[in-house]
Symmetry: C2
Subunit: 314 residues, 2 copies
Amino acid sequence: MSKYCFGVDLGGTTVKIGLFDPEGTVIEKWEIPTIKTDSGSRILPDIARSVLDKMEESNIAKESVIGVGIGVPGPVDENGVVHRAVNLGWDIMNVNEVLGGLLEMPVKAGNDANVAALGEMWRGGGKGCKNMVLATLGTGVGGGIIVDGKIVTGATGAGGEIGHIHIVDDEPDACGCGNHGCLEQYASATGVVRLANRKLNACSDNSVLRDAKEKGKLGGKQIFDAAKAGDKVACAIVDEFCMYLGKGLAMIAGVVNPEAFVLGGGVSKAGEILREGVQKQYQKYVFHGSSDAQFKLAELGNDAGIYGAAKLVL
Amino acid sequence: MSKYCFGVDLGGTTVKIGLFDPEGTVIEKWEIPTIKTDSGSRILPDIARSVLDKMEESNIAKESVIGVGIGVPGPVDENGVVHRAVNLGWDIMNVNEVLGGLLEMPVKAGNDANVAALGEMWRGGGKGCKNMVLATLGTGVGGGIIVDGKIVTGATGAGGEIGHIHIVDDEPDACGCGNHGCLEQYASATGVVRLANRKLNACSDNSVLRDAKEKGKLGGKQIFDAAKAGDKVACAIVDEFCMYLGKGLAMIAGVVNPEAFVLGGGVSKAGEILREGVQKQYQKYVFHGSSDAQFKLAELGNDAGIYGAAKLVL
């Protein structure tokens, strides 16, 4: 009898679901909306309904499902208890128990950024690694630390919160977390725009970015594109971005000494200019024992979550 | 039949050996010299001889020994292979195989700092923790990271090399590793003396430390003692020391989110002034998700290594 598992990526707007075979091939994937009314009490029943419907439609018996893994946007402890997932309206929710009860199948929950790291290790940019760090460069900076093939959850689910590593001492602006000088204030999509605004204010050199800045339309993609086209101011901004990220990843290497760093999230679409730039800066700050770490781009894009979630139960 | 295990702490000058019961009680401990002639080729045979002699003396049969754990001063991979232990004269040495062959018993080797962390978790300051970081503040700064009860070795044995995390951008002096601004340039016994010399040169305030400085006899213990006695310059130096260490440990928390930090090594004999000072500074830099971490002093002193080594095989 064939065996299956499901990987669920629960986001604030949509839930992505994948049906996998145990080797990690996606058989089918689909999405349902995340309906957050009534303190998010419909979310898990909606997911259970969708999974059960798919099983009926595809003639899959319960006995042939290994389990259902799910990534959740919030801190998740080792028993699958989510402590305050603000985006979903949840206070304390035992996902393993509640969703497991609805499905009558084994369920295992993890934090979404950590689960994405597991996905990239299994089937993406970190394939073949047992010790890997995923840095997700989006609006903020998220992270997932894999040690010996397993996610580092930490004591309170805050393992891999690399966006809030202190990296700059004299930062006047506050980070969303309340501290000053966190990595995500520089090495994110919003961070690179802040760096660009500062740079453009501090110099009067010509740059294709000035016009966009005056129109209030400066964006991360534009800055990396301008650097690729040789715009000197844009190149300096990208260098600075890579310096902060390289320095942060070197600090992380001093703790877990990974085989590879995988760069994901929207900013990673910049590609080689980012990968090479970060690796170069990393070498300036890292202890020689960790200098061999590889730098890779994430490969699974928005599907990293469903892959990693499936891997949770395998 | 009673069961036993041995824990060996291999240092550059002496080898400490402990005979344990499986609950972690030391039945007996002793030392032999580390004789490093002939590229360190006598070291493992000497250890094997000492262990076998003890077994004969105490009427312990091979069948009742669970195994022999050993901490080694150098990077050790997961198979027990040591890659260049300069202090011992070794190039590449498979300790598990060589010592295991001599003893005809299971042998498991680990890096000494990591093994000490395991000891402190098992029977010392981190008792009851599954996620813990040991910071060993000696001549340099060493570290051991425990995640889910296991040592984080890393891809090349450089896991927990926290002394070389980059912490200061504009440091003119080079660290022993060749980089500039490593944590151990500030948060070690030599680091606190550097901080004191700089402070005393930069101000003209009265301090009991001036006399010692002029005689070239300024030491870490003296600086902490002066701060305890209320010397203002010494207090400022200790504050600065704690700021660097607190900041470094906050960065580490952003990666592995431990339940507790345990402070060990010679400098940790300063006691509460250090523990409280570091915890206070840590709170300024850490992400709120990791703010509950406890700060403890190491309890096993020089015996942490034999305890942790014994735990390796249990």
